[in-house]
């Protein structure tokens, strides 16, 4: 007998990471927090280590209004323009 496949393969995509940094000294950092408990504090503590050890500076903190939805494209585009690297988190 013949059976239809119930799954979907989805669109074939290939994405690329942003180019790596040559050094970390003096770079600007963005934080994208997802509203979960301790999210901002966690990401700030990580950013603080870059500030203390490499002279980086947190330039902006962005927020997702909904933890379980993708970040709006305009936030990501803004971050890409404004900072050298973004620190964010996934899940709880």
């Amino acid at each position: 007998m013949q059976l239809y496949d119930p799954t979907t393969s989805g669109p074939q995509r290939e994405l690329f990471r942003a180019p790596s940094l040559t050094c970390l000294d003096g770079k600007t950092i963005g934080i994208l927090e997802n509203g979960k408990l301790n999210a901002t504090q966690m990401l700030r503590e990580l950013a603080r280590l870059f500030e203390e050890r490499h002279g980086c500076k947190v330039r902006a903190v962005y927020s997702k209004s909904n933890a379980s939805a993708p970040a709006p494209a305009q936030i990501l585009m803004k971050a890409a323009e404004e900072v050298d690297f973004l620190i964010t988190g996934l899940g709880d």
């Binding site: 994405l15 979960k36 870059f50 964010t88 709880d92």
Partner: protein, 58 residues
């Protein structure tokens, strides 16, 4: 991108579906929400040690 250990499989699955299967994540101990400040600092140190080579890697 930071995730706690139970969510690593989720993160890898999403990365695969979105077309970046080898995307490197920072893995820290779960949970985050109920952590004290000193616990968050310890997790930040662990994340930092993973983040530096990722940011500088070609």
């Amino acid at each position: 991108m930071l995730c706690t250990e139970p969510f690593e499989v989720t993160a890898r699955n999403i990365a695969r579906v979105l077309g970046l299967p080898s995307y490197p994540f920072l893995r820290v101990q779960h949970p985050i929400g109920s952590c004290t400040l000193s616990q968050l600092k310890a997790r930040a140190q662990a994340a930092y040690e993973q983040a530096v080579p990722i940011l500088l890697q070609a």
